[in-house]
Symmetry: C2
Subunit: 90 residues, 2 copies
């Protein structure tokens, strides 16, 4: 669940330094439905109620699987460039 870290403590009493390296890939979903092995959602497209419905791909939405605009904050905080999938009825 958490990023892999390697840490090496100095053997010297004098030095309290510790080397910590972030290794390998990181999870992209910090919070959503973490009790599920895999978060998959289905949309029956004939049941879409609005002409345009944005679905979240940033894993930060408070209304997941819908997009609530949280990708904007995520992009600003990280320099990322993610955005929603827009479902269009016509």
């Amino acid at each position: 669940i958490f990023p892999a870290f390697s840490s090496t403590s100095s053997k010297s009493i004098r030095s309290r330094s510790m080397v910590v390296k972030a290794e390998g890939a990181q999870a992209i979903n910090p919070e959503i439905r973490k009790t599920e092995d895999k978060v998959v959602d289905s949309v029956v497209v004939s049941e879409l109620s609005k002409p345009l419905t944005p679905y979240c791909r940033c894993w930060r939405s408070g209304t997941f699987p819908l997009c609530d605009g949280s990708h904007v904050k995520h992009n600003k905080a990280t320099g990322d460039n993610v955005g929603p999938l827009l479902l269009k009825r016509q």
Copy 2:
């Protein structure tokens, strides 16, 4: 674009240790269309050709915005639990 790091070099000549802390949030899209400010895709649902079409939410698909199953490798490598959005015609 890159994660924020703070690094502190030891002042002591004897110690070559360096403290490196990963700080704050990380980008979730490492490679896809990084020249775009925000990657947004649209699906006109009346044009879906198959009964079931999976769309990627892991940002690792070789056929983005479609899912190619790459979320499986991502989940195994990181302990994450992300998966696609399934668009169903009926």
